[in-house]
């Protein structure tokens, strides 16, 4: 036990004396969570749009007013004619142009039909889509007001309820995602680097020729990172709650258990990486390419898995992060318990055992 404590103490010295480690451990989570929370978001706010009003009557004025009043849009300019549409869009500042046909109010009154055209800048397809949806819903809303007195023979009234995230806040998606990425990064990359550093500096040679058993070395290496990762997870959750009002609906205990489980999964991956790489650089490359990219791309963090091609959907199943994100969202947003999450939990548990067994088998008790 004394040996173990001595080893862990040494590990903490390494971490606290290395500025880069300290930054990755404590600077990065904060920077990432704020970055994803504020800057990188697929919500639209204050989007600049332009109007080409060929009618300039009572009705169009009302609609324009409505659009301007919404928090989503700012009306930037009036476009004078069809010829200018292209130039306005090309400047890039205006993301969409709304075109009213001439004699809008008159046509609405007499023909009961008037046309509006929405031209969006689709260089960013997601934003273009969202803008056009928002504008349509404002127009529909206006149409309902017009029909208030009239009776329409058949009508399907749609009432949408957005469960678990009524305001559709993007940050509710990002907090679990960032937490997953950070825990993966800290646990897997940092441990694999710290173990390979001993190989690179030759100290592993001395550790091998000592009474320390392989598992003592590994647990000694990993233990500080379990501890630091838990602190990291706490920082992210507290930050999410204070800054973005990210709720935790479910049990704190379950959340803590699942988080620790995922940390151990990531650590065992880190150990596995360290057993197959000889230098810190290789360990870092494998961690970044082999872990970070899949975690970001294939875990539902940014891109929905259901819309990926089938082979990628299958591959996503072997990414531990995917299951952890499901668990996190379940606990934090839906407030569900283990009875709904047992499958994901078991999968993570199984992966962890698999990685640990594999790394114990691969761990070398001698030099090559």
């Amino acid at each position: 036990m004394k040996r173990f404590i001595g080893f862990v103490r040494k590990e903490f010295f390494h971490i606290f004396r290395d500025k880069r480690s300290m930054f990755i451990l404590f600077g990065m989570p904060i920077v990432q969570i704020l970055l994803f929370g504020f800057a990188i978001t697929n919500e639209i706010n204050n989007v600049e749009i332009a109007i080409l009003d060929n009618s300039k009557d009572n009705e169009t004025r009302k609609i324009i007013q409505k659009i301007n009043a919404s928090p989503y849009f700012n009306i930037e300019t009036e476009v004078l004619s069809e010829k200018h549409i292209e130039t306005v869009l090309k400047k890039g500042k205006v993301k969409a142009i709304l075109v009213f046909e001439s004699n809008f109010a008159e046509k609405l009154e007499i023909k009961k039909l008037a046309n509006v055209q929405i031209i969006t800048d689709a260089t960013d397809p997601n934003t273009a889509n969202t803008i056009s949806n928002y504008v349509q819903s404002i127009l529909q809303n206006h149409q309902q007001l017009l029909n208030k007195n009239a009776r329409i023979p058949y009508q399907i009234s749609v009432q949408t309820q957005l469960q678990y995230n009524p305001e559709l806040k993007g940050v509710f998606n990002f907090v679990p995602g960032v937490m997953t990425v950070i825990l993966m990064l800290v646990s897997a990359m940092m441990t694999s680097i710290s173990i390979t550093r001993e190989k690179e500096l030759g100290t592993m040679e001395i550790l091998l020729v000592s009474p320390l058993k392989p598992f003592q070395v590994i647990i000694g290496k990993v233990f500080p990172y379990i501890f630091l990762s838990i602190i990291n997870a706490l920082v992210i959750l507290v930050l999410g709650f204070l800054v973005f009002e990210m709720p935790i609906e479910g049990s704190y205990l379950l959340l803590a258990f699942e988080t620790i489980l995922f940390i151990v999964t990531a650590l065992s991956l880190g150990i596995l990486i360290s057993t197959i790489s000889q230098t810190q650089q290789t360990a870092m490359m494998i961690s970044l390419m082999g872990l970070m990219l899949p975690v970001i791309l294939l875990s539902e963090f940014i891109f929905p898995i259901s819309s990926m091609p089938l082979p990628l959907q299958y591959i996503s199943n072997i990414i531990p992060a995917k299951w952890f994100i499901v668990i996190l969202k379940g606990i934090m947003l839906k407030g569900v318990g283990l009875q709904f999450l047992w499958k994901e939990t078991l999968i993570l548990l199984g992966m962890t055992v698999f990685f640990i067994v594999l790394s114990v088998k691969k761990y070398k008790i001698r030099l090559e």
């Binding site: 390494h14 040679e205 020729v209 009474p211 030099l367």
Partner: protein
């Protein structure tokens, strides 16, 4: 027997690092492994410290077999690898405490053993190991390898890259440690250090050339070596190599060491030859044979044999 090696071979791909090596080291002996870089010294150390497995042969350290009983060996030997392998970001004292702890002991418990060495680095005990000078680093590494009072101490080129003064101090320390009954196996590429060992093994290309005490090795070497000097050293070497009965010509300090293949050789023949070739201030006298001379001689015969085979 503290170390016994029998018929040990090890290859990396096609290169034979060790070729059927056998030797024994007695308890409490200071045994030197002398040979140039790439001779196979480090490979031998790694096999004996249980870090590598030999392809063939048996090796025992403190009466324990290096493959089967590797766990017990790891508890009772001290190992100082050729490359400085301590934690550079820990201080001197932290390094020492760490190695004491992982061997289940304390610095106080075995302080007696490291006292002489530790006193020299004590003024820097709060300095990070990475900021120490080369000599200091080696002293600290030696302390760390000794802290658990090992039965056998393995030092792989401990004085490579260390200044001459520190080198001498280091060997004085080894002599003192030897008195504590610790068996020491030390390797070095410096021939002058060989004379300081109780017994030495000369190694080249993975083969042992000779194993004996330094004095015996030198005494057994029959050939007379001449120190030759003249004004133009470069031309001197060229001309000596052209002398019909020459056997070996190599620079040794300020002189050229020359041996002749004829038993009836007289230095006067050589002097006449050199004067005839316009050398000035020619001086020829017999030299005291050193380990280096023996090594050069053995290595060259070994090489010519290898070519003939």
């Amino acid at each position: 027997m503290s170390i016994s090696v029998h018929n040990l071979s090890k290859s990396y791909d096609k290169i034979k690092a060790l070729d059927a090596i056998s030797f024994e080291v007695n308890e409490g002996e200071l045994f030197g492994l002398i040979g140039p870089d790439g001779a196979g010294k480090t490979t031998l150390f790694r096999i004996l410290t249980t870090l590598l497995i030999a392809d063939e042969g048996v090796a025992k350290v403190a009466n324990m077999e290096v493959v089967k009983e590797y766990k017990r060996i790891r508890e009772s030997v001290g190992y100082m690898p050729g490359r400085f392998s301590l934690y550079q970001d820990l201080t001197v004292l932290e390094n020492l405490n760490f190695f004491a702890t992982i061997f289940g002991t304390t610095v106080e418990e075995n302080y007696e053993l490291i006292k002489d060495i530790y006193i020299q680095i004590e003024p820097f005990k709060d300095r990070r190991a990475g900021k120490l000078s080369g000599g200091m680093k080696q002293k600290l590494a030696l302390c760390c390898a000794l802290i658990h009072k090992p039965k056998v101490l393995f030092l792989d080129e401990p004085t490579t890259g260390v200044d001459p003064v520190s080198r001498k101090e280091f060997w004085d320390m080894l002599k003192r440690l030897n008195k504590h009954g610790i068996t020491i196996l030390v390797s070095t590429p410096y021939m002058d250090e060989a004379a300081l060992c109780d017994r030495i093994a000369l190694i080249q290309h993975g083969k042992l050339l000779e194993v004996d005490s330094p004095q015996n090795i030198v005494d057994r070497h029959q050939k007379i070596i001449y120190n030759v000097s003249a004004e133009n050293t470069y031309r001197l070497i060229q001309d000596l190599k052209r002398f019909p009965t020459q056997e070996a010509v190599y620079a040794f300090g300020e002189f050229i060491h020359y041996t002749d293949s004829k038993s009836s050789f007289s230095p006067e023949e050589l002097r006449a030859y050199l004067l005839q070739n316009n050398h000035k201030n020619v001086d020829i006298h017999t030299a005291v044979t050193t380990i280096e001379d023996v090594f050069m001689d053995l290595a060259s015969t070994f090489k010519s044999e290898a070519i003939e085979n």
